[in-house]
């Protein structure tokens, strides 16, 4: 069942569930921040409207910096602003920023500990028709390896807005990934956003089921995880659905708490499985120091759902998440594979 404590969208399972672009959460938060804090500055590299920075640009033209198609320069200027008392947001597509300008970010923002918030838009295969060049599916991998950065992957509009607002409150580099298309609104304005915490969006009927599985997801695919959970419930299979909005630092305690209870884990992300959120979970669970700290040495197996060492392609978001095994059917199948110990080739 949906976790009643989190005030999630009660209409989440309706066919006409409200849909809003995650990137709008960024744009709306920027306007609020601009009004609240004169030190907030926004930069873009020729992608003002599509990164939803245009409302900020219209309201605060003197604090909006157009860099043209020059992502390295944008990162460097932001780094300079960030060490001079400003809170600088850089807006571009994640394949270009932090993709193309990664080393500039590493040196001038992260190593330099500058107060810059990197907004990676058009993340995931659901960027759709533009094709693989514009679908950022490695951004978590290239950012999570950097020391001194905080990473958030919001699941919907509201979480994106709250994450953006939160990032401005804390000094230092943040990476937040946003999605282009409308996605189902999972949370509500009232849902608490607790940075660094994994939230149980779906809780099992019984917490002692020997076949209990945890579906751990991040970003817009949390919706697919919830759909799967609801359908599995009807089939008598109990699961958790965990929303990992904070990729770094990871809520290690929660991961071990869940690992203790479940027979298996399915991770689901719109990202390469190599180096993504699933990797973070598995690295954490396999870490001897953490195992010792939490007294858990026998760990559940993990099924990794996401891009399996391949690029995406053009298509609609729905077609793409189906073809690349990230929709609710893939999740259900993954859960059953673990329970019944069968491999992918067998039908469930």
């Amino acid at each position: 069942m949906l976790n009643p404590e989190l005030k999630l969208n009660p209409k989440i399972f309706d066919l006409d569930v409200e849909q809003r672009p995650i990137r709008d959460g960024y744009g709306d938060a920027l306007v609020e921040l601009g009004e609240k804090n004169k030190n907030v500055v926004v930069l873009t590299a020729d992608l003002t409207e599509s990164t939803r920075a245009h409302k900020f640009a219209e309201k605060f033209p003197e604090r909006f910096i157009e860099c043209g198609v020059a992502e390295q320069n944008m990162a460097g200027i932001a780094a300079g602003l960030g060490v001079s008392g400003k809170i600088a947001f850089i807006s571009s597509y994640a394949t270009f920023s932090p993709g193309k300008n990664w080393e500039t970010i590493r040196t001038t923002i992260i190593y330099n500990n500058s107060n810059v918030k990197i907004a990676g838009h058009h993340s995931g295969i659901v960027t759709g028709p533009d094709g693989a060049t514009h679908q950022a599916t490695e951004d978590i991998a290239i950012m999570r390896c950097l020391p001194n950065i905080k990473i958030i992957s919001p699941c919907d509009y509201w979480e994106a807005k709250k994450a953006t607002l939160y990032s401005a409150e804390v000094y230092g580099p943040f990476y937040v990934r946003y999605v282009r298309d409308k996605t189902p609104v999972i949370t509500t304005e009232e849902t608490p956003f607790r940075f660094g915490k994994i939230e149980e969006f779906w809780i099992p009927q019984t917490k002692t089921d020997k076949n209990l599985i945890a579906i751990i997801s991040t970003g817009h695919l949390v919706y697919q995880a919830l759909l799967a959970a609801k359908e599995l419930e009807k089939e008598g299979i109990d699961v958790y659905v965990l929303n990992v909005h904070t990729i770094k630092p990871l809520d290690i305690e929660k991961i071990f708490e869940i690992a203790k209870k479940v027979k298996g884990i399915v991770t689901l992300e719109d990202h390469q499985v190599y180096g993504g959120m699933g990797s973070v979970i598995s690295e954490t669970l396999m870490n001897f120091d953490f195992q010792k700290q939490y007294g858990i040495f026998s760990l559940p197996p993990i099924k990794f759902l996401g891009l399996q060492n391949t690029f995406g392609e053009s298509g609609t978001p729905t077609e793409l998440i189906q073809k690349y095994g990230m929709d609710k059917e893939a999740v259900k199948q993954g859960v059953k594979q673990i329970i019944f110990k069968i491999d992918e080739k067998n039908n469930c």
Partner: protein, 287 residues
């Protein structure tokens, strides 16, 4: 405002430049690795900055109203460290820790480790962009600090540099002055052989920048150029400072092989002998 440069002060600055050179040799020998040619070539300009041009306070390195000196080509940091030590930012003896474990004097500068270096740098082509950000913040905050950015000629092969110039051509920040160390060498050889930069001045001017050219070892000419740059209130100035890499040490001068090499004991002794006796190597109005 920058004070008038009297003859006494000029002599003082030249002496400081020579002390900086000696310290560079000392610290590189101790470190056993690092860059020799670039730091020696920029000693006069760093002396001018730390002892005449900059509004700064070594005891208060994050003073909000200080002028900012951004070093884009971080590999020449020994010259900056030497100048900072002589200016009182940290004890001169600490220079011997360069590149050693637990040091504040990293092989390439790290802002959060050593206050006063303003940015972390080393990877080339990134300084001007950061200087733009710092200068722009000054304009937003109505501060009157000036931002100086020192760059190498070789790093003008980086695309990022020209992205930044293009931005400046549009936005014209008068509170930013860029200095290019035009010493014609880079790791693989002479710049014009590796990847030609000429016609350098014309390229810069075509981006809408105010370009000045001076002898980078003539401290008076350099300070005059800085004054001219600061009086240009409509746009960013770029000063191309022609320098001799390895300046002051005859066997290093103009040799690209000394770009990324530190002297051994014997070479250090020879270098220090030359520097301590000057041997006419430093052009001075008093000689």
């Amino acid at each position: 405002m920058i004070e008038e440069l009297h003859d006494e002060k000029l002599k003082f600055l030249e002496e400081k430049a020579n002390q900086i050179r000696e310290l560079i040799i000392d610290m590189l020998l101790e470190a056993g690795s690092g860059h020799s040619a670039g730091p020696l070539g920029m000693a006069d300009i760093f002396s001018a900055f730390y002892f005449h041009i900059l509004r700064h306070d070594s005891q208060n390195p994050d003073w909000p109203d200080r002028d900012r000196l951004i070093l884009s080509n971080g590999h020449i940091c020994p010259v900056r460290y030497a100048a900072m030590a002589l200016a009182g930012y940290f004890p001169v003896k600490e220079l011997k820790t360069l590149r050693k474990i637990n040091t504040r004097l990293q092989g390439h500068p790290h802002r959060t480790t050593l206050l006063g270096v303003e940015t972390s740098s080393g990877p080339l082509g990134e300084g001007i962009s950061q200087a733009i950000g710092i200068a722009y913040a000054g304009i937003l905050d109505k501060k009157d600090y000036h931002v100086y950015c020192i760059t190498s000629d070789g790093e003008h092969q980086e695309g990022n540099t020209w992205e930044a110039y293009m931005w400046l051509g549009k936005n014209n920040l008068p509170n930013l002055t860029i200095i290019i160390d035009r010493n014609y060498i880079q790791i693989d050889g002479v710049t014009e052989d590796v990847m030609p930069l000429e016609p350098f001045k014309q390229k810069l001017e075509s981006f809408g920048l105010h370009v000045l050219e001076i002898d980078g070892h003539n401290i008076r000419a350099f300070i005059d150029a800085i004054r001219t740059a600061r009086s240009e209130w409509r746009r960013t100035s770029v000063i191309i400072a022609y320098t001799i890499p390895g300046k002051g040490v005859s066997f290093m001068e103009r040799k690209f092989e000394w770009h990324g090499k530190a002297p051994n004991k014997e070479e250090s002794k020879k270098a220090l002998d030359e520097l301590r006796t000057l041997e006419g190597k430093i052009i001075s109005e008093h000689q």
